[in-house]
Subunit: 179 residues, 2 copies
DNA sequence: TTGAGAAGTCAACAGCCGTTGGCATACCGT
DNA sequence: ACGGTATGCCAACGGCTGTTGACTTCTCAA
């Protein structure tokens, strides 16, 4: 189906180039159709991006995980979900320069990670703060590994990264406020 | 001086809009001169960005800091250096979509953070990996706080952020490899 | 006073962009 | 066989971009 081909090409281009540099003409060329077809199916570039970047973190249910293994569970999940999927870098690239892209990230963060963290945190008042800290570390990894491609972060294996990151996330989720 | 006015306007625009959306015409308008002046002074947009984003992390000498306080020292420094300076978000916004911007970030971290970390790490072989992990956390904070502006990360105070982040950075710098 | 050189203005260029509308073709139920 | 509908291509539009070169104005030393 043409519509699906456009979406696939759009995701790749947005991921590789970000919102501004990813042109409708290039996306159409990748999908081997005319640029006007993109408009017919999606109305506008903004709308195409909204549809292409519509996404679900598909966070697993963490409520069955032992409290002292939450960090490992969440970090492991992060890599099985995103290693090899270019949607997250696409979103980061776009959110960095496009205000509506940034808004989208904030919404995803609040409704998905925020809610999931809220369920495993001891004091509900602290949930947003703890979720923010977790996001800062995990999005930092996504940024340095998938977008900026800092060599040390690219070369290291997911398994080793998990052993380094899990204690950090575990502490952000469960340790008492260090103040 | 005109040259300085252009640079100031360029930094602001690159910071606010990223490389692509920051137009030479807009920068020139901010500096209240003609767009062609920008070309006369800097030759090209690429070159203007290179000059505007020329920057020095100005990392302090960490060799005098007690080994168990390195995390606090580095994280505290991060906020005194970047809170209120829009150059880092400008660089991140640009590096996310512009390949030469990303290359610039890689160079800065290799020659500045990498070297500084190399001096305080126990085993020199592990220095790049530890520097990468530190970068992942600190750039993650810059991304979520200054670029994406996730509410919990914006609302939290630098002082509190330091108490949360310092142990993370301390562990990345000095703790034994968790494998 | 004059003249060289810096500083700044102006209009235009070629190219790429998102978007539009008209026109051809293929498909498919009736 | 037919007509409607989906699918597709083509050419063009107005607008914005980085960049260029010719032109005017200012500054200041000789």
């Amino acid at each position: 189906m043409t519509r699906a081909a456009i979406l696939r090409a759009a995701r790749d281009r947005f991921a590789a180039d970000g919102y501004d540099r990813a042109t409708i003409r290039a996306i159409a060329a990748d999908a081997r159709i005319d640029p006007s077809m993109v408009m017919r199916y999606f109305g506008s570039k903004e709308n195409l991006f909204a549809t292409a970047a519509e996404f679900d973190l598909r966070l697993p249910d963490l409520s069955g995980v032992p409290a002292d293994r939450l960090g490992t569970a969440l970090v492991s999940y992060f890599f099985t979900r995103w290693e090899g999927d270019s949607t997250l870098p696409a979103l980061l690239r776009t959110a960095s320069t496009n205000p509506s892209g940034a808004e989208r990230v904030r919404a995803i963060f609040a409704t998905q990670l925020g809610v999931a963290v809220g369920r495993v945190v001891a004091d509900p008042d602290e949930a947003p703060r703890r979720a923010g800290l977790v996001a800062s570390q995990l999005l930092g990894v996504a940024l340095t590994r998938y977008v900026l491609r800092l060599p040390p972060m690219v070369d290291i294996s997911p398994a080793e990264l998990i052993t380094w990151l899990a204690p950090t996330v575990q502490r952000y989720l469960r340790d008492p406020d260090p103040r």
